[in-house]
């Protein structure tokens, strides 16, 4: 785990007049509710430990007020922690002075905002070029670069428009182009698609995934929508009242929820559409009379469609043509029903 792009270690954040004093109560185990009622301080984050791998999309999910925005703003230090460590590419960003911090923000990280946060007095091209403008680069160079990324997100031809002339979805495309034009390896997205209509939101998710296969950025994506989180996440972190309740590969969380809170959370999800064969297959053994072959990356929905609703039998799981495991349809059926939490 030492090669994580971003490492958050034992991070605490207390909002209020005297966070250090409030911290001492937190260390003694005082909860968010009690701290707020008795001491008037808000416990924003408690003991957060997350590693975000290079080239992956880490989704931080939780209900509103769970501390998602607070957490993502620690990564580029729009908010400073009360306690803890924050390593980016192995260096503790909390040790940086103003200038180095500014340099990190200019070159290493970019950010996309829920309400787009474009500059209303600048046209789309200049908005997309925010990062190079801030870095003081030459207009000739950045105009080409910004136009390239605008084109890439589907906004070719809108360079001269102003943000208020565009729809919400188009404005957020400008927001994404702005983040991409900075050429930073890390991209922070705080509920970037939450303000958009459902259909446009799906388009934007597809756009992001498509860009990601090409660019391999380290993306930290904030969402309060489980479907969105499951669709995008390589690594899913579930936050509740400022604490991490579970973090893992999303399929694993779906199959092994560690907490009643998460069981509730995932109970309404369409499991057939989210779970993939690879998460429920058994190790490769000799099968006689295999009913057919299924791909490792197929969703259960696709398998059910492929097998015509058959609920028994065994299939060989393949990956790029080679067999990698077996799938018993009875396991598939069982996986469709949420498990009661194992243990107690």
């Amino acid at each position: 785990m030492s090669n994580a792009m971003i490492s958050i270690r034992n991070l605490y954040k207390v909002f209020g007049e005297n966070p250090q004093q409030a911290m001492s109560f937190v260390r003694q185990g005082m909860g968010k509710e009690q701290l707020n009622v008795e001491h008037g301080h808000v416990l924003g984050l408690r003991d957060i430990n997350v590693d975000m791998q290079e080239g992956e999309i880490t989704v931080i999910m939780g209900l509103s007020g769970s501390g998602k925005s607070t957490l993502v703003r620690h990564i580029n230090r729009l908010i400073d922690p009360t306690e803890g460590e924050l390593l980016v590419q192995g260096e503790n960003v909390l040790d940086y002075d103003e200038n180095r911090l500014r340099d990190v923000r200019r070159r290493t990280m970019s950010m996309v905002f829920q309400h787009f946060a474009l500059l209303p007095h600048r046209n789309v091209l200049l908005n997309a070029a925010t990062a190079p403008i801030v870095r003081g680069e030459d207009a000739k160079d950045y105009e080409v670069e910004a136009a390239k990324w605008l084109d890439r997100v589907g906004l070719g031809g809108y360079e001269e428009s102003y943000p208020h002339q565009l729809s919400g979805g188009m404005q957020q495309r400008v927001g994404i182009a702005r983040a991409l034009t900075s050429n930073a390896p890390i991209m922070l997205m705080d509920e970037a698609f939450s303000a958009l209509d459902p259909l446009i939101r799906t388009d934007m998710q597809d756009l992001l995934l498509e860009l990601q296969t090409e660019l391999n950025k380290t993306i930290v994506f904030i969402s309060h929508d489980l479907d969105e989180a499951l669709k995008l996440a390589d690594h899913l972190v579930i936050l509740k009242d400022g604490e991490v309740v579970q973090q893992d590969e999303p399929q694993h969380i779906l199959l092994n929820p560690e907490d009643d809170y998460i069981v509730d959370f995932i109970s309404d999800i369409n499991r057939a559409r989210v779970l993939r064969v690879r998460s429920i297959m058994s190790p490769l053994t000799e099968v006689d009379g295999a009913a057919g072959e299924v791909d490792r990356e197929s969703t259960l929905e696709q398998v059910i469609a492929q097998t015509g609703g058959e609920s028994s039998g065994t299939y060989v799981v393949t990956h790029e043509g080679a067999p990698v495991g077996v799938l018993k349809m009875s396991d598939l059926m069982r996986a469709l029903v949420p498990q009661k939490r194992s243990g107690h």
């Binding site: 729009l78 990280m109 007095h121 801030v134 208020h164």
Partner: protein, 343 residues
Amino acid sequence: MATYDSLFETLGLKEWCDEGGGSAPLSMADLLARKNGGTQETSAWDTPFPSMDALNASCDKFPKSRDLTAGLEDGFLAIKDSLRFILDPITEPLSWMLDGAMWVAESTPWWIVIPVLLLITYWVSRSWSIVFSVGASILGLAFIDHYLPAIQTLSIVFVCALISVALGVPIGIAMSRSNRLQRVVLPILDMLQTLPTFVYLIPLIFLFSVTESKLYGIAIILYAIVPVIRLTDLGIRMVDKEVLEAAQAFGMTPRQKLYQVQIPLALPNIMAGVNQTIMMSLAMVVIASLVSAPGLGVLVLRGIRNLELGVGLVAGLGIVILAIILDRVTKSALARVNAGQKH
């Protein structure tokens, strides 16, 4: 003898009161009281409020309220010279600017001044209909022989509004960045705005001679600077928090943030402040005629002093016309800024 005699007796201050009393200035009420013999009893119903004057009636050593105002006067006179010593050189450029602008406006022939005004109008408003109405207004005023006072008034408004904006915008920016400064400045702005305008003319008359143009310049600026400060402060504080976060997230320096984000986004509010500042300069220019500001206000005053109804009314109408065109021109500039950055 007086109502509160017993008070001073019970406090044991009688002796102190009687020591060499009677030197306080006599008021009309004292004289009347002496004339009436002053020995009648006051009923409980008529008991006077224990004010400074009432207490003085019982104890000569106790100061009268007239002493308070006299004290203020003396205090002001005492610091007047040193205050003048500092303020005079600082404010001298204001006189030069006012006199210079006035000289230019008066000595340039009308057939140059009017086209230049129309050009400025077009440059600010980008609207031919506004240029047309401004042209018609000025030509109309010139036709009824009010060209010179109108142009004098405009030149004063121009200089004072310019200085108000040049000082007010930076003050507003500073206020928006410091809550403490805001707490100090806001009451001062409230005071400047609520004090009857004549009241701050009084100390100014003590400080500067009535023949200097900076006297009315300062009076106008003090009055007109308030809205541009207020709205600059408000405008910058109202800038969308998420946009500021974006500026920070992309690594802007505080200076970049100010010039590339805060001021441009506050511009609609700042322009609204400039509009009000110009209108208030114009309102004040009439009152400033009392302290020798030239222009249409002088004619209004003549109308009042000499009961020349027609002169006063026509000059008043001229001011209204100036107000309308100044308002339309600045509002159209404001509308252009607004159209550029709707959300």
